[in-house]
């Protein structure tokens, strides 16, 4: 998916991206933790008398069709998206790294079988695979996390496998083998640390994708279910009132885009920092 060609205007931009991306992701993380404390209203406090009120001092982002405060819902919703993103990327990371190292380091039929299986899974367009899995598991936060995790394993595994194949022929790996280090020891002490930067960069970019997919599934009604204030679900509901209350689709959308931007900048910045070849 990614191509190793000059992707950023200048190398100096790398550390700038890294800082901005880190700040955005950090800001959202804080919101996810203390969101329900600092939100001015509860996520599901209804006030039907002020339904569909435009943004005002009392409701900075306006209110939805049930009179719920949009600002509070957007803030409290951070938790769903960030949980889904971090848990699914972490799960995909563990499974993908294990499979990738196994497929790259081991030789023989098992490695070939794993590599073949990974390549087959990669031929299914990712959003199609997510929807298929989510339809099998059922809608909800758990189904969402599982579907995204499974879908993110193959690209991660392929990336790690490629890196491991490169590293395997390095002299220090040969040397470690010559002095009798076990396979597991080599993987843990030499392969994994050297593949680490590639993995971190990929994980950050995958997190941006996960935010996108979580929102898309919510919008389609296959993700976190209402009345939970999940951003994609809120966009789906706000769509009905676009004529009267366009801010209902504006605020959650900006929240989603900004978080994706944060993860993307973080990934790009990390890549420029760690991998001078692409800078």
């Amino acid at each position: 998916m990614s191509i190793a060609i000059d992707l950023t205007p200048a190398r100096a931009a790398g550390s700038f991206y890294l800082r901005i991306g880190g700040a955005i992701v950090g800001f959202y993380t804080v919101l996810a933790v203390i969101g329900s404390i600092i939100a001015p209203y509860g996520a599901n406090d209804q006030d039907l008398l002020s339904a569909l009120d435009p943004p005002s001092l009392a409701h900075l982002f306006g209110t939805d069709a049930l009179g719920r405060d949009m600002l509070s819902r957007v803030i409290i919703g951070t938790r769903f998206t960030l949980t889904a993103t971090l848990v699914s990327v972490a799960a995909a990371l563990i499974a993908g790294v294990a499979l990738g190292i196994a497929a790259g380091y081991l030789e023989g039929r098992i490695a070939a079988a794993i590599a073949g299986f990974i390549d087959l899974l990669l031929t299914i367009p990712s959003l199609v695979l997510v929807i298929a899995i989510a339809s099998v598991i059922g809608a909800g936060l758990f189904g969402l996390i599982l579907a995204i995790s499974i879908t993110f394993v193959p690209p991660m595994a392929r990336l790690v496998r490629g890196r491991v194949l490169e590293l395997k022929s390095e002299d220090y790996v040969e040397a470690a083998r010559a002095i009798g280090t076990s396979d597991l020891g080599i993987m843990r002490r030499h392969i994994l640390p050297n593949a680490f930067t590639v993995i971190v960069v990929e994980a950050s970019l995958a997190a941006g994708q996960a935010v996108l997919i979580a929102a898309a599934l919510g919008f389609l009604g296959l993700g976190v279910q209402p009345p939970a204030p999940e951003w994609g679900t809120m966009l789906g509901a706000g769509r009905e009132y676009m004529q009267r209350a366009p801010y209902l689709v504006l605020c959650p959308g900006i929240a989603i885009s900004l978080l994706i931007l944060g993860f993307n900048l973080l990934g790009d910045g990390l890549r420029d920092r760690f991998d001078p070849r692409t800078g």
Partner: protein, 306 residues
Amino acid sequence: MLRFIAVRVFRIVPIVAGVVTIIFLIFQLVPGDPAVLMAGPMATEEQIATLRHAIGLDQPIYLQYWDHLAGLFTGNFGYSLTYKGSPLGEILLRLPATLALAATAIALTICLGIPAGVLAALNRDHAADYAISFSVVALLAMPNFWLGLVMISVFSVDLGWLPSFGFAGWRSVIMPALALAARLIALIARLTRGVMIEELRKDYVRTARAKGLPFHTVVVRHVLRNVLIPTLTVIGLQTGYLLGGSIVIERLFAWPGIGDLLINAVGLRDYNLIQAITVLFTVGFLLVNLVVDILYVAANPRLRHA
């Protein structure tokens, strides 16, 4: 060349068989009894039994698998609960809408993404480059369906210029195709810019300039050709994204295509139809890449014996 094409076509067969098997296995994981789930909470025992028989769920799994494989080759996509039989007719009816949407999105990507990248590369580190690079970063962060919502809000609700849903004439394809293509346009602009900057540094550019060719002639005659090849390949690889993205976009714009059908099927727990569409999208993606592969080699005779 013919031999090469035959080999590539032949090589895709086991991949299709493998991926169809994986998708079949995924749908075996539906928790509980699929017949009970599909029949709904109001169904009687008898109705459930009839349904189970109609779908072939009362057969052993290897027979179900065999029926599924054989069905795909004969155009029988299995029993669809929604259409009380093979959904092939409905799929064929909706295919043109999805193809039209994807083709328009690809055309927009080529017409907007490549020129934007070229423009940015030619004005490297100047205002145009910064503006384009900034737009790329912004577009890559926006979900396509949100972009679609914003466009509906501006161009349909406020200005009343474009229809916001359905499939009525060329005007109705503009917004869905733009929303779908936005991410791809950004990716291609970024890629084209990168490749172009690399190419402009190469020796042949200096040689051509040294023998007196004007700069724009060098760009049009030599550089652009070398830029187009990797760019078009990546567009081919990104059709997987286009197919996935079209699901959400079709839903948003009530576009009567396959993606919209898929979400209907998910809502109705029509697992056979979901499975059929998953297979269809995957095979479509594989076929597009086969074509791109062949075109790529046709354009590069050096690769033919690789």
